[in-house]
Symmetry: C2
DNA sequence: TGTTAGCACTCAAGCCTATCGAGTGCTAAC
DNA sequence: GTTAGCACTCGATAGGCTTGAGTGCTAACA
């Protein structure tokens, strides 16, 4: 869908104006734009055309025009095709507490929300493809052993495993050797039933412990994949009247709280990759039914090799897409920098 | 503050009615209560008295009466003094995923919110007084060692500590011995500077690692104490018009999201213990300024010895206190049962 | 042929006013 | 001590009026 220069300019003017005010914009307003010297009557003609093309519409007769989803789409596409703007200032408070991924991501979400005035979400990187780095079993007290699994990227998972009677240190050592030599360097999802059986056979009397270790590893994959999504700035939606009525606000905030819905956005983002890494879902394009009044801008970040996660911004359809994209790029950059250190 | 039988009955009738409807209640409504055969005029007289006593008030002339905070207080006190009601049915879905405290508590919050239609909060038990059970340092790769600290109650904390060069297994063993013999059985908050220095002296060249381990332990205390609060059902506030306007809803949900505010309620609850274990903060009694339009019902639960946490329900001042108290008792019971198993 | 000025028309939003009704306090009778 | 009756108050609701922003259309103009 290509637009003549003038029509496109008018469309952009309308949208830009609407982004600021949230009010329908009339022909007179646009006619005062310095860089297109046209009377309101001319604008009206063009607007009638744009409306016919389905890019703008009137909420009611005798009101100004507001963009349709299709109109936004044109606007966004033209925006993203243009040259990258300089990245705005965003304080790098991420440095604290970087030891714990959980805190880091929560902090990132917070930063994102504070800087955009929208709601933000950050999903933890999926560890499916991630490799096991180190496993250790140790005796905690008479009735419990502790299994620690460390993944590439220093993600750690613990599991306390109850045992009938204490293992002696020799057995412990053997068990640790066995697990480490067989599993280290292996991506979790590559662990096969055959491998599990083989290890169990070698484990002698401690097969249950081995089973439990595998359970822990499996849970690792699930737990991370499940719902590890951090959100921030949910209350920002109250700043946009079109989202803030009871019905909608309640539904949206419910989505943020439950996180279930958000994970489908994450999935969508991770699968359908765009060349710039940034994806924009406008209104009905949104994979989540309850968020069709919103737009969502998402990006995929990568920590190390293959550990991909998603960052996203959720706001009204009239969100400042440019700002949102910038903010996402900044945060991606920072996450990347942090990881490299 | 003692009330004659009839005045108390009228007060209770007013409050009970107001709890249901949320509308100011008039004298005629009360006069139709079966168990006190009085005309509306008589009720009006009594109501005038109650208003003079500061227990009810009119939102404006020519409207019915609504309870004041003081009125609620009388009502609640009389309620809690009465015999315990049978605990209502609440499905015990807590059983899944009980291995992870985090999930357990989140689940508890969810259950609580779903059953009461209010917002719920559950704070993780404070580990301040909890004892260290086991410490282990192990070599993960050339540049990192992993410190694992296990507390009484099987709470676990990990910290990856970067090192210049790998430790050999002999040093590792020595370090583990040193830490375990000196720290096991010790409550975290009893670790003194003197003790730290003494251990460092014995650690030889690996003093930084020891420092880091103590840091991890300290963070343990902080992290748990800080913000480990799980909430659920934040959107339930939209069900109560008196809380659901923009201003208030935004502020409340912000509080739930940030959790900072909630922690002061937790503190308050843990310190000021009542004999029944249940505490009720009505309106202005609320320790959090931004929640003075709400009531909060809290209770302290105990996992094992000394690990105390808080469960709470946050709702409008006209919350169904009886139901809230019951729900809390049920959940406390279940948490207790689960831990004992 | 594209642009502009002018005009009649539409319609949401804001404001005013009247009406309604729930609820009160007071007084007098029981 | 209780009740019936009555005048009064005041928020809520609905209707009517005005206002103004914005449109589409037509005719004149460059």
């Amino acid at each position: 869908m290509e637009l003549q220069g003038r029509k496109l300019k008018i469309l952009q003017a309308i949208i830009r104006n609407y982004l600021e005010t949230g009010e329908p914009v009339g022909s007179r307003t646009i006619s005062k734009y310095a860089d297109l010297n046209l009377s309101s009557a001319t604008i009206r003609n063009e607007m009638a055309d744009l409306e016919e093309m389905g890019l703008i519409k009137q909420p009611h007769t005798s009101a100004g025009r507001i963009p349709t989803d299709a109109g936004y789409r044109i606007y966004v596409d033209n925006l993203l095709a243009g040259e990258r703007r300089e990245v705005e200032e965003m304080r790098t408070m991420l440095l604290e507490k970087q030891d714990k991924l959980e805190n880091l991501l929560q902090q990132a979400a917070k930063l994102l929300a504070a800087n955009t005035n929208y709601t933000s979400m950050v999903s933890a990187p999926a560890v499916r493809q991630n490799k096991i780095k180190f496993i250790q079993i140790s005796q905690v007290d008479e009735n419990n052993v502790l299994a620690v699994i460390v993944m590439e990227g220093n993600l750690i998972r613990n599991k306390v495993i109850p045992v009938e009677e204490p293992l002696d240190s020799e057995n412990l050592l053997k068990l640790n050797m066995l697990l480490n030599t067989n599993l280290c360097g292996l991506p979790v999802e590559n662990i096969t039933l055959g491998l599990i059986e083989a290890i169990k056979k070698n484990a002698g009397i401690h097969t249950e412990i081995v089973s439990d270790v595998f359970d822990a590893a499996a849970e690792f994959v699930h737990a991370e994949e499940d719902l590890k999504i951090y959100t921030s700035g949910a209350t920002n939606i109250f700043k946009y009247p079109e989202l803030a009525d009871h019905q909608r606000a309640s539904e949206l905030i419910g989505n943020f709280e439950e996180k279930q819905a958000l994970s489908s956005i994450v999935q969508e983002t991770l699968s359908g990759e765009s060349e710039t890494g940034i994806q924009v879902y406008i209104g009905d394009e949104n994979p989540v039914a309850g968020m069709r009044d919103c737009s969502v801008v998402t990006a995929t970040y990568e920590l190390g090799d293959g550990m991909k996660g998603t960052v996203g911004i959720i706001g009204p359809k009239r969100m400042d897409y440019e700002r949102a994209v910038n903010a996402l790029q900044t945060i991606m950059q920072q996450l990347d920098d942090l990881y490299k250190k």
